[in-house]
Structures are given as structure tokens and as C-alpha cells.
Symmetry: C2
């Protein structure tokens, strides 16, 4: 069997499911036609087996040395790279995304895996702390306490529609959960099951080659109509946390299930974000034309199908802002249509832009042709503040200009914002005083604040935050990209007066791991 | 006005409430009589004002340098110490706790405040990370990203019944929230409003003396029947997180409110824990008598009214274990009754022990006299596994011995456990192999694992974990004691390509704060 052959059956630990569940096909969004390979939705038994195997794998997997988990992540990256052009071709066929984007997304996916491997090899991320005993302390001696992060348990991962590689079967949630020491049960997005199968099989091969515990990874298929598979997985007692990327409605529904369990579990949903861009007056005068070009690209690249797509632009009501609006409208109107990811997204985009055009006080400045017809709208700040539905995400190449005729109006619009993944400020030196006031308010509204740039493009780096206040995510304390992503899947465990043999190596005397620790309140290696 | 005078009105920022709401009195549990001072439950207007003042104080307070917040915490500790003996007398009258315990709890409360001040002064806790730009990177240059923890917003704190100082108006949740940069709106426990008022007024004085923003702290009173005050606070849009210590029923009800808000917020409840103690065979033989003495103290001290009270003891079914059970029963029977904290707790204890005595397979080994009559029960491991209600917390000086006639039975009992704050293992060198198997399982069940000791007594230290899997707390990823407690009230915020003037001082070039940061993946000062 080649490393890209498709069987259409769920990956259950080191084996494959029977062909039992509802059959479905991926569709090529460029042609509208189904692709040949049939896929079999996971049955109740498949899910039960994947979850119980994950549970069984948890103890041995979480007990592995960090170096062994790092080697596993490295091996997954190598296996993915070895799948070569057939993976690229399959992703293109299932998503309609252009080849260069698919290749760069695959590079990102492998980089992510190696990034987390590097954090494991360095080791300090587990937050080891030691307070030594003091038998002479008055009024009573204090015990020795040592603590560090330990994995929560098996993690369920829901693949995203818009990143068939980087947020899918072997994407960021899978990589950070495996890094943290948690087995993963992933559900492939129904839009690109073949891409997911190639990636999932790469993980399976790496796990077998490195002798990982059977059950460390499973990948379940589910037709679009088979939503009970995901619901059942979230409710399964073996599952200890969930990573989800998708719609606000879907995320909220699953979040409620996670909260209503007899034992509630953390549910990390990245849901919807409109990523406001604020252009301050001096920046508008100094760089208006340049910002038009950058913003146009950020709104329209890959048909705007990004969670960081700039869906709101807050600007003044003066002549430079009028010129900016006209120039952006001209560029938007002239943007050719491209293929969108799937029929659901296409339909939602058409409905969203149609509704937006009819909203009270909204003027349509630009409308393109075709399925991803660009749409630029405009509304006065007061009308924006009055209508919360204008903050609903329209997933696609659309944006809404909010025209504020005073600084107060601009601040009111900012204060009325829901939570977002990002907020962007364009400013010049002369805007500094305004920008400082703005920043204090934006910090409450977004997880990442971009200056003089554009929100699309999320760097995989230790400092990155890809998370934000509700409803952009379900948990603003966390990020799904960057070094902190692993922290979603761990909890602190404390060992009091433990015999040396009972301690994890990271907490032992002499610091055999060489990691940074807090010892009696001081950071030390 | 002296620093311990009681007015009986809620503390609303820098002022006091009107005497509007339902009047109630604290009761002296030793006499059963009401204490003289009337207290006025907060009205809707009081709560509205406290919450909106907290919201208004958030921006200026969160913008203060860490050193200013540290000085505030130090000043609170000094103000509390300055209240002297009248505070001690009031706490004793409202709680029935003995003087030595009250004095040590006050010392702990002040230590906690200074502990968090010390973490602020050191500064590295905010997890600063910097990834510098690389304009030469292919295929596209990467931006500069810098991130650190920022406070969530105003925090609501619910005081505990059993720690009138250390988990109350100026207790651990208040201290860690104020340290993290969040204003606090606390609700005093109806059992000890006078203790809370003295502590709250100490915070108010410290805040005014140090020029903290008006609204940084409020303390609301609510009679036992006025539960809507707490519910309204949890639902208030100004509140960004909640710290709660109390019953499982109460915690779960408020948790559901927090989750059902239009904008859900983190809710940190410490609820119920039975803190299993496991005595392995060699430890039983070597130190059985000694463990009887230590365990008896841990079960009965302060009438067992601790969240870390050892409510389950897992031991063998052989002769040494029989001797242990008899000796513990004899000590328990001979333990004099002491005053319990309040009527509700007294009633629940009586009902809980009565129900436990009638449960299938349960034998009562010891029963004391009086309101805090000790109660020791025994059950076979198989019957324990079969009846989850035997894991219900009985708050008071009671414990249940679980007799396992094999290693397998012991492991089955452990696997059947719900989540707990602590688990304790008594072991000797010869128990090592068993203990290792046990530890892997216990790590999933508890936040702190104690070896050859007792779970009561929670050290305030960087490494401490006072948290655990559901239902011991609502969020096993967190702790309410120790350095990590501050992390409950923050979220990461990222600044991309920010002009130097727009960055928090902790993220600036040259590291003016001298804190530990992760720069391009490496830890550096």
C-alpha cells in the first residue's frame, strides 16, 4: 500500500474500521462533481473502539519521556512530507485551493509539528516548581511540594473546513495535544476526507514505526449528515478535552454538550471573528492608498476564507476616508471570482452578503461577479453600534466600512465590538495619543493586536496568540497557535513529600532534565 | 471610626451602601444566639454600583505598574494586621473556631497577600514572549510578535464558610485577582459578615491610602435567603471571572449561570472532595499505629471542616488492617465534640452521617457525641465501587474505611473514584512497585498527591496545587492556592509589529523589567 492510497475507512488506532457507516464522497468545488473514492462514516462501534483505545493508550503515552514524544512528532512531519505530490493534488481537488497555497500549508503543518517537538526537547514548558521542606519553620514545619503540568487525557479534534492540512487530521490541535502527552481522536471534515486520510495514515505509520502505544491516534470519518458522530465523541467519557475549529453555531452546540456531561471537560472552540481594522486619521492621510492595496489583498486572498479575514474597517468620514472607500471599492469590484471551499460556505456567503446589503443604514459600495463575488459595504458608526447583527461574520471576500465622524464615535464603535481573534491599528507618530486610548480598549476585545499591517497570516511562533474573547473563541485564556497551545491540554499535579523514585524526572533533585524550574521561588536550571 | 468598627453596610468602592436590603445577623455557633450588629443585604442598586465601579476601575487598575499593585497588597496585609485582637474576637464569635486557629489563619491571609506581592515584584509570571521579525525569511518575511498575560477584567469572589479570613473578603481569590490586575467584587459569607466587613474595610483603607482607582474593591452583604445577589453578580456583564468556594450544589448552579451568559465567563469553583488516603500493606505493617494517630487528627481537627478532610481511607482486609480499623474507631469514639461553623453545616453533617450509616453494606465503627459527633464507617471495596453515593462529601469529622481484599480490588476502587483535591499514599520501600502503579491512576484523580502524610494543611507556596478534577473543582487546569492561582484571571495578548511606545514595559527592547522572557524560543533575562 502506497503512502497516499485511499481506503475510505476510519483509522482506528493501528487498524482500520469495517465499511459499516453511511457512505459519502468528497466533492470537487471547482467542478461541482463528486470525487470517486467513497468514504464510510464511523459507526457507533468504530467510535467506541477509537475512544477506548485512546483511553487505554493514555497512561503509557503520557508516561513516555518528552524526547520520545518529540521524535514521534518529527516522524509524523517526515511521513507527511514523504506523501509528496499526491497529497497536494488531493487537497487541491477537495478544496479548490491553489497549488502554492496547498504547498505552503503543508510546509506550515510540518513546521508546526517540529515546532512543538522543539518545545518538548527544551522541556521547560511543563512549568516545574519545587518548594523544599523546612523542618525548622514555626509554628509548624512545612512539607516539600513539587509540581508540574501533566496531560488531561485523550483529546477530540474537529478539523476545519478552510485549512485541510494545518487545522485538520494532523493540524495544530492534533500536534499540540500529542505534544502535551494526550492521545487524539480526530474527526475529518466531510469536505476533505481524502486529504485527512492521507495525513492520518502518515500519523499511523509514524506511531507504528516508533512503537507508540496502539490507540495514540485515530481518525473518524463522518458524512455531513452524520453530526451525531461528533456529538457522541464530545460526550464520550474517555475524552478529556476538545479542540474545534468551525462555525459559531456548531461550536456553541458542541460546547453545551461538553458542559452538560456528568464530568464537564474543557472545550476549545475557535468560532467566528470579524477582525476590525482601524485606520487613524494621520495614517489615512499618509498611507491611505498603500493601505487600500494591503487591505484588499487581506480581504480577498483565497476568497477571504480565513478566520482572520478583516470583516470590519473603522475609518473617518472626511475626504481622505471617502477617497479610501472609493479606491477600495474599485479594487474589490475588479477582483475576479475564485472557487470557494464547498457548497455550504458558498451558500452561506451568498446569504450573508445579501442580508448585509439589506440591513438598515448599510450601503453597498462594491459587488463582484461569480460565486465568491466580492462585497464591500459601508455604514455610519451610529447605525453600526445600533445593530449587533452587523458584527456577524460573513465568511468570504467581504468587508464593512464603518464611518465615524468623530473620535467619540470611533471609540463608541470600538466599545460595542464583540470579542475577536485580532484587531488592527494603522497609525502614524502623530496618531500616538489616540492609539494609546484605543489600545487599552482593544486589549479587551482581541487576542492579537496588529500594528500597521493586516490580520491574515498567523505566524507559528512562541509568542503568537490565536485566540480571543467570546465569541471568537470559547476560551480567551488560550491560543490554538504558538507555544502556549500545548497548555490547553494539561493541568498541574503536585507531589508532596514524594520519595525520589515516585517523582517525574523533571522534578527530581539535581535537575536531570536541565529545564528551567522555580525552586523556592527563584527561577533556576 | 476605628479600624474594626462595624456598620453593617456593603462596601461599595470608596463609599458605603445605604441601609436598603434585607437585614440579617450573624449567629454565634457556640451559643446559638444572634450577634448584635445588623447587616443590610446589598440591593440591586448596590450591586449595580459595585459592578460598574469595578468595570470603570479596570482600565486604570490594570494599567498600573506591577510594583504599584504589589505595594497595594502589602498595604492590605499591614491594614489587616493593624486590626489586632478585635478581628480575632469577631471571627471566633462568628465561626466558633478556636483562637489559635484564627490567629494562624490571619497570619496565612497576610502571608498570601505578601506572597502574591513577591511574585509581582519578581515579574516573570506574566509569561512574556518575543519573536523578532525576520525580513529575509522565505517565502515571506515574518512579523515581530510579542505577547504576555493581561487581566481578564473584574472578578467576583464568593467567600467560603470554613475560612472566614483566608478564603473570604481578603482571602486567596481576592489576593490573586488583585495581583493579576483585576478589580474585585466580593460577597461576604452570611455566616461571618462582621469578619468580612473588618477585612473589606482594611482593603478599602489600603486602596484609598495608595491612590488605587475608586472601584478596585467592593464587598457586598447578602442574607442566607438572598441568593439572588450572587446570581445577579455572576450574570453581570461587568464581571469577567468568578472565584467560588462552597458546596457542589451551589457551585454547579452558579457555574451554569456563568456558562449561560451571552458572554460566558470562566467560573472557578472549589466544591467537594473526599481526599482518599491509601495505606499500602508494608506501610500498614510498619507504621499502622502511627498512621492511626496522624489520620485521626487530620479527620477531626476543627471538627473536620476542611475541603482536604480525608473522607475515604482505602486499606486491606487482613489482620493489621483490622487492628488499624479498631484503633482508629477507638480514637474517633473518644474524640470530644466541638462547635461546628453554622447551623446549615451542622444539619448537613447530621443528615450525611445518618444516611451513610444506612447505606447498603456500610458498617458504623465509631460514633461520638454532640453536634460534631465523630463518625467512622466501613465498607467492602466491592460495595464501595457499586455505590457512587458513598463518594458524597460529608463535611465534618467523618471518614469511610474501604476494605480491599486484593490488589485488584484496591485498584478497582481507585479507578472508580471521582476527582479530588488530594490523594494520599502511605508506602514503604517494599510497596514501591504497587505505589508506582497506583500513582499513574491517582494522577488522573487528584491535583495533589501526598506521600506518607495527611491531606489537611495546604501550604502557600509556588509549587502548591489546590485544585483537581471534577467535582472537586470546576476546572482542573487551575489552582486556588500557590503561584499559579493568579493565572486564573489572565489571558495572553499579542502585539504584532507594535511601535515601541505602544508596548507594555515588560515586552520592550532591553528588558527594562529584568524579567525572564522567551526570546526567539530561548529563555533569557
Amino acid at each position: 500500500m502506497s503512502n497516499h492510497e485511499l481506503l475510505g475507512t476510519s483509522i482506528i488506532a493501528f487498524s482500520r474500521s469495517q465499511k459499516g457507516g453511511k457512505v459519502f464522497h468528497a466533492s470537487n468545488p471547482a467542478t461541482g462533481k463528486d470525487l470517486e473514492q467513497p468514504f464510510h462514516s464511523a459507526t457507533h462501534e468504530d467510535l467506541e473502539r477509537a475512544a477506548s483505545m485512546a483511553e487505554r493508550a493514555f497512561l503509557p503515552y503520557s508516561a513516555l519521556p518528552a524526547a520520545a514524544r518529540a521524535a514521534f512528532l518529527q516522524a509524523i512531519a517526515a511521513e507527511i512530507e514523504a506523501t509528496g505530490d499526491p497529497l497536494v493534488a488531493r487537497v487541491m481537488a477537495e478544496s479548490g485551493l491553489p497549488e502554492a497555497r496547498v504547498r505552503s500549508e503543508r510546509a506550515r503543518t510540518c513546521f508546526q509539528l517540529r515546532f512543538f517537538a522543539g518545545i518538548l526537547e527544551e522541556g521547560s514548558w511543563i512549568d516545574a516548581r519545587i518548594d523544599t521542606a523546612d523542618p525548622s519553620r514555626k509554628p509548624s514545619p512545612n512539607p516539600e511540594v513539587r509540581s508540574m503540568m501533566r496531560p488531561l487525557g485523550p483529546v477530540a479534534v474537529f478539523g476545519a473546513s478552510n485549512f485541510p492540512l494545518a487545522y485538520s487530521a494532523a493540524g495544530g490541535d492534533t500536534a499540540s495535544a500529542l505534544a502535551a502527552g494526550s492521545p487524539v481522536v480526530a474527526i475529518a471534515h466531510y469536505s476533505h476526507p481524502g486529504s485527512a486520510e492521507i495525513m492520518g495514515a502518515a500519523i499511523q505509520r509514524a506511531a507504528q514505526a516508533l512503537g507508540m502505544p496502539d490507540g495514540v491516534y485515530s481518525l473518524l470519518f463522518a458524512a455531513k449528515s452524520e453530526q451525531q458522530v461528533g456529538a457522541e465523541l464530545v460526550r464520550h467519557p474517555a475524552i478529556a478535552a476538545v479542540g474545534f475549529t468551525g462555525s459559531r453555531a456548531g461550536g456553541t452546540a458542541l460546547l453545551r454538550l461538553a458542559q452538560a456531561r456528568p464530568t464537564p471537560i474543557p472545550f476549545y472552540a475557535e468560532m467566528s471573528s470579524v477582525n476590525p481594522v482601524i485606520i487613524l486619521p494621520h495614517a489615512m492621510r499618509a498611507r491611505g492608498e498603500q493601505i487600500v492595496a494591503g487591505l484588499h489583498t487581506s480581504i480577498t486572498v483565497n476568497a477571504g476564507q480565513f478566520c482572520t479575514n478583516p470583516g470590519l474597517v473603522l475609518l473617518g468620514a472626511d475626504q481622505p476616508a471617502d477617497d479610501f472607500a472609493s479606491a477600495l471599492a474599485a479594487r474589490m469590484s475588479a477582483t475576479p471570482s475564485t472557487v470557494m471551499l464547498n457548497q455550504t460556505i458558498k451558500d452561506a456567503y451568498a446569504a450573508g452578503t445579501s442580508k448585509r446589503g439589506k440591513a438598515a443604514g448599510v450601503r453597498q459600495l462594491a459587488v463582484g461577479d461569480g460565486e465568491s463575488a466580492t462585497a464591500l459595504f459601508e455604514v455610519d458608526a451610529a447605525a453600526f453600534v445600533a445593530d449587533p447583527s452587523l458584527q456577524d461574520e460573513i465568511f468570504g471576500p467581504s468587508s464593512l466600512l464603518i464611518r465615524a465622524n468623530s473620535r467619540e464615535q470611533m471609540l463608541q464603535a470600538v466599545d460595542s465590538l464583540e470579542g475577536n481573534l485580532t484587531a488592527t491599528v494603522h497609525m502614524e507618530e502623530a496618531d500616538l495619543a489616540d492609539a494609546k486610548i484605543l489600545l487599552q480598549r482593544l486589549e479587551k476585545k482581541a487576542g492579537r493586536i496588529v500594528f500597521n499591517g493586516y490580520p491574515t497570516g498567523v505566524e507559528v511562533a512562541q509568542a503568537m496568540v490565536h485566540g480571543g474573547p467570546w465569541p471568537s473563541t470559547s476560551d480567551s485564556r488560550t491560543t490554538s497557535v504558538g507555544g502556549r497551545a500545548m497548555l490547553r491540554f494539561v493541568r498541574p499535579v503536585c507531589y508532596q513529600d514524594a520519595p525520589a523514585e515516585m517523582l517525574p524526572v523533571e522534578l527530581r533533585d539535581g535537575n536531570p532534565s536541565g529545564i528551567l524550574r522555580i525552586v523556592n521561588g527563584k527561577y533556576a536550571r
